[in-house]
């Protein structure tokens, strides 16, 4: 089977288009956050003005229920970007007659698509559940488009390889299962990580506020509180943990077929295990008094850091059977 190089070219062009759309979506979402901050600040000023003249307080719309034109533009652009991204992934796959996750570049390409689709699903579900009550998931927009753009940029710059057939070692249907579950797990933990970072920022601001000081980053007031963010992060990380467990099991089954043993502490196996244990510690920490909340959140951040390390460092610099040093 030969590689359809025309189609591979189309895949690259649609990816550039998608990245451009992501970039504008990122800008629109950032504007939305800035507007949210401005609105909250002006509302506070009005409230103070009211209080000083002793007038009756008018009912204010909550920040999340306001019309968010910039967020709407951001989401429309995001949908466009995701469609182009999807087209890029599909054409890449068709051009090489296989699933589009046979090397690190394709892993990043497909992984970010899963992140994008996961974000859109979250937005849709939140929309269905009603826009009021701070359930609008678009607050994550900036923190999703940012990492997607960064990942695609790094992947194009550092890991890019031309569309090609698989080497025999990867030519197995276990590639479809093992790597796809790993992509899902990585994508979900990325979303979970975004929510965790926001949670930690909100908690920090809560503490500053509790101390009677003014917390910076007023736009964060437009976002849900740390408790809701924690819950969102937990749900994402819990699903990601299950996916990671399946990645591990599927990997072991494939290793049994490909290398004749299911577990041999290859450096990638070591790090998959380390990530699993760290996320397990996170889940346990949530159920331990004195460890819930901020400390558990830091554990999940550590878990995500290990995941990045596993992808960026172990693949390239550690000798082992998962080596992609040739990228």
């Amino acid at each position: 089977m030969t590689v359809d190089e025309n189609l591979a070219q189309i895949s690259n062009i649609t990816l550039y288009g998608g990245m451009t759309a992501y970039l504008f979506s990122f800008i629109a979402y950032a504007c939305d956050l800035a507007e949210g901050g401005k609105e909250i600040r002006s509302r506070e000023q009005r409230r103070q003005a009211h209080a000083s003249v002793g007038g009756t307080a008018t009912l204010e719309k909550p920040a999340s229920a306001r019309r968010r034109r910039a967020a709407a533009v951001g989401t429309s652009l995001f949908v466009l970007a995701t469609l182009l991204h999807l087209a890029s992934v599909i054409t890449r796959g068709v051009s090489v007659h296989r699933v589009p996750w046979g090397n690190m570049f394709e892993f990043a390409l497909t992984g970010t698509l899963v992140v994008a689709v996961g974000y859109l699903v979250a937005v849709l579900r939140a929309h269905k559940a009603g826009l009021g009550g701070g359930r609008d998931a678009r607050y994550l927009g900036t923190f999703v488009t940012g990492p997607i753009l960064a990942t695609l940029g790094i992947a194009l710059r550092t890991f890019y390889v031309e569309a090609a057939q698989l080497v025999p070692a990867l030519d197995s249907y276990w590639l479809i299962i093992h790597v796809f579950v790993a992509i899902l797990a990585t994508a979900l933990s990325t979303l979970g990580f975004s929510a965790t970072v926001l949670q930690l920022v909100q908690e920090k601001r809560d503490r500053v506020k509790a101390a009677g000081k003014r917390a910076g980053g007023v736009f964060m007031d437009a976002l849900p509180g740390s408790v809701e963010l924690e819950r969102t992060a937990f749900r994402l990380n819990a699903v990601a943990f299950v996916m990671w467990t399946f990645t591990l099991i599927a990997g072991a089954v494939w290793a049994q077929v490909a290398w004749n043993r299911y577990w041999n502490w290859d450096s990638k196996e070591v790090w998959t295990f380390v990530i699993w244990v760290v996320y397990a510690a996170y889940l346990h920490a949530r159920a331990t008094r004195g460890w819930d909340g901020r400390r558990a959140a830091w554990l999940s951040v550590l878990g995500f850091a290990c995941m990045l390390f596993n992808y960026l460092v172990v693949n390239i610099f550690f000798p082992g059977l998962h080596s992609y040093a040739g990228v």
Binding site: A164, Q165, V167, P168, R231, F234, I249, A252, V257, G320
Partner: protein, 572 residues
């Protein structure tokens, strides 16, 4: 996941009123407490500490940290040559890392100690909970609260049928929704999601099973490696290297016969950026399970192993075996056949050695010859003129070799590496010009050696395959336990624990129905559940119910994220 510090403390709490305090991290106080204890009490104290959630968490993090050195140092089990190289590169650090068992981390004392303590802690925590859970599975759903409208989810409706009929219908509806439902006077009490805890226990106990499965495989497993050239045959009693388990030896390998009939190997030739990337590795073999059995042909490829009984044979490597014919000074053929050269690079620059122990020179005197060479499947010149292979397929095969005479060291009985030439007692053959003889041969070439040592003919080149023959008992058990653990994990993370109560009482000739729900921890789906129960109830009663829109209370205050420690429900 829902492991708390409290569950296993119950029986101890009476004796140590301040046990809670001591476990909340005040180290100094802890030590004082410990020193006043009698031995038995001290043991119980230690046990309690070991099985506490905090210790488990600490051990988990320690396990993650302890696993890391195994990826930064080469390990004996999967990279012995890496360890040898590390010793050469870091002569001062090596003995220290070795003393700290840094080259076999996963069987080291400290790593084993951590995971064994973790598993003891796990068992100590989980086993008592099995009993508690067993009891709670058989206990009745809780009493109906007096005022349902205080609960987070509450709906009211009016129907025309009698309260009795409403409750009967509600019972069926709740059963269908997987609730355990029970009649109390004038109300129904229902509960679901008990298997969240079942899942939790199954997950943890399956990990114990997994550990046992892995341990059992180290007792009964074995693995052997064997290199076979095309046309060659191997049997299950000879290996180039063999590692038995604690209770297995080479005699446990089934007496199979494997003949390598041919090899299919191909590399990318067309796509510019991928030139030389492997595309096919397949060994066509004839397998006979045991002497006298019928033989079968199989293709062993990467990702496609063959099986003899429960023993799995996989293709672990391939390379070239140049066929050399060596004639000695008297014209006797003293060497004829393929010799495997081990590939050293992606383009298969391969090194190897041919040892000729029984030759005579032109004068009839016994002489030993050693030929050390580099085989280049597609020879070309490097920038500095050194020969190098530029493509992995045999498009322009060339053998470059030196010849040595003297003592090969085969006679002193010490096992020798067949791929290296020990030249300590040998001298390099020098030509008439005083230069060391360097043979550079293409297939078909014959070179006469100086000093009447005979000749070397490079007949052609064969391929070889390396096979990994391995038996891993307990792998099915390991898989089953891993899948069980996953199922338990899913249940323990995603099964919601919910309670629903239905009340019905007569009011002005009609019946007033109340449905209320309570979840353990935070549960976004609770409102939907209560609505669903009411909707199904309405359907089964076959009448439209006027729901009182004002009966839904405002959503619960945000602030109670799922926190099993706050809801020690399973305690009697």
């Amino acid at each position: 996941m829902a492991r708390t510090d409290e569950t296993h403390l119950d029986d101890l709490r009476d004796e140590y009123a301040d046990a809670e305090n001591s476990s909340s991290g005040k180290g100094r106080r802890k030590r004082e407490l410990a020193s006043e204890m009698k031995p038995l009490e001290f043991l119980r104290y230690c046990w309690r500490q070991l099985t506490s959630m905090r210790t488990a968490l600490f051990l988990l993090m320690l396990l993650a940290v302890a696993a890391v050195p195994g990826s930064t140092f080469p390990q004996e089990n999967n990279d012995p040559s890496g360890v040898a190289q590390w010793e050469i590169d870091h002569p001062t650090a090596y003995p220290w890392v070795d003393r700290l068992q840094g080259f076999h981390v996963y069987s080291s004392v400290w790593f084993s100690a951590i995971y064994l303590l973790l598993f003891i802690s796990l068992i100590g925590c989980v086993l008592p909970r099995v009993g508690v859970h067993w009891k709670s599975l058989r206990s009745r759903p809780p009493r109906t609260p007096a005022r349902l409208n205080r609960l987070p989810e509450h709906r009211e409706a009016t129907v025309s049928v009698s309260p009795q009929e409403v409750l009967d219908a509600a019972h069926t509806v709740l059963r269908k929704r997987r609730f355990r439902s029970e009649r109390r006077d004038g109300s129904l009490s229902a509960e679901k999601g008990h298997h969240r805890e079942t899942g939790n226990l199954v997950f943890h106990l399956s990990l114990v099973g997994l550990l046992i499965a892995i341990a059992s495989s180290s007792l009964f497993s074995y693995s052997g490696q064997r290199l076979v050239t095309v046309g060659g045959t191997t049997v299950g009693t000879t290996f180039d290297s063999f590692t038995g388990g604690t209770w297995t030896t080479i005699d446990d390998v089934p007496p199979f016969t494997l003949s390598l009939d041919s090899m299919d190997v191909s590399f990318e030739e067309n796509q510019t950026s991928q030139i030389g990337q492997p595309r096919t590795f397949a060994a066509h073999v004839t397998l006979t399970d045991e002497p006298g059995a019928e033989s079968r042909t199989e293709t062993i490829a990467v990702n496609h192993p063959a099986k003899v009984g429960h023993t799995q044979i996989s293709l672990s490597g391939n390379g070239y075996a140049p066929v050399l014919v060596v004639r000695d000074g008297q014209g006797n053929v003293v060497q004829d056949g393929p010799t495997a050269f081990l590939p050293q690079s992606a383009n298969y620059d391969s090194t190897g050695v041919v040892k000729v122990p029984d030759a005579v020179d032109a004068n009839g005197e016994a002489v030993q010859l050693g030929i050390r060479g580099v085989f280049l499947p597609t020879a070309s010149s490097n920038a500095d003129g050194t020969p190098v292979s530029s493509f992995p397929d045999a498009l322009n095969p060339v053998l470059v070799a030196n010849v040595w005479t003297g003592d090969l060291g085969l006679d002193d009985g010490v096992a020798q590496n067949v791929y290296t030439l020990d030249t300590t007692q040998m001298t390099q053959v020098v030509g008439d010009d005083g230069q060391a003889v360097a043979l550079t041969m293409a297939p078909g070439d014959t070179v006469e050696l100086p000093n009447g040592l005979g000749s070397v003919e490079f007949v052609g080149v064969e391929r070889f395959a390396s096979f990994d023959i391995r038996y891993t008992p307990g792998q099915t058990a390991a898989l089953v336990f891993a899948l069980l653990a996953s199922a338990g994990l899913i249940a323990s993370l995603f099964l919601p624990r919910r309670r629903v109560w239905v009340k019905a009482h007569s009011l002005d000739g009609a019946t007033r129905v109340e449905v209320a729900g309570l979840a353990r921890g935070n549960d976004a789906g609770l409102a939907e559940e209560v609505d669903g129960v009411l909707a199904r109830l309405r359907e089964s009663l076959g009448e439209s119910v006027d729901e009182d829109p004002a009966s839904s209370p405002p959503p619960p205050a945000v602030g109670d994220h799922e926190q099993p420690a706050h809801a020690p429900e399973e305690k009697p």
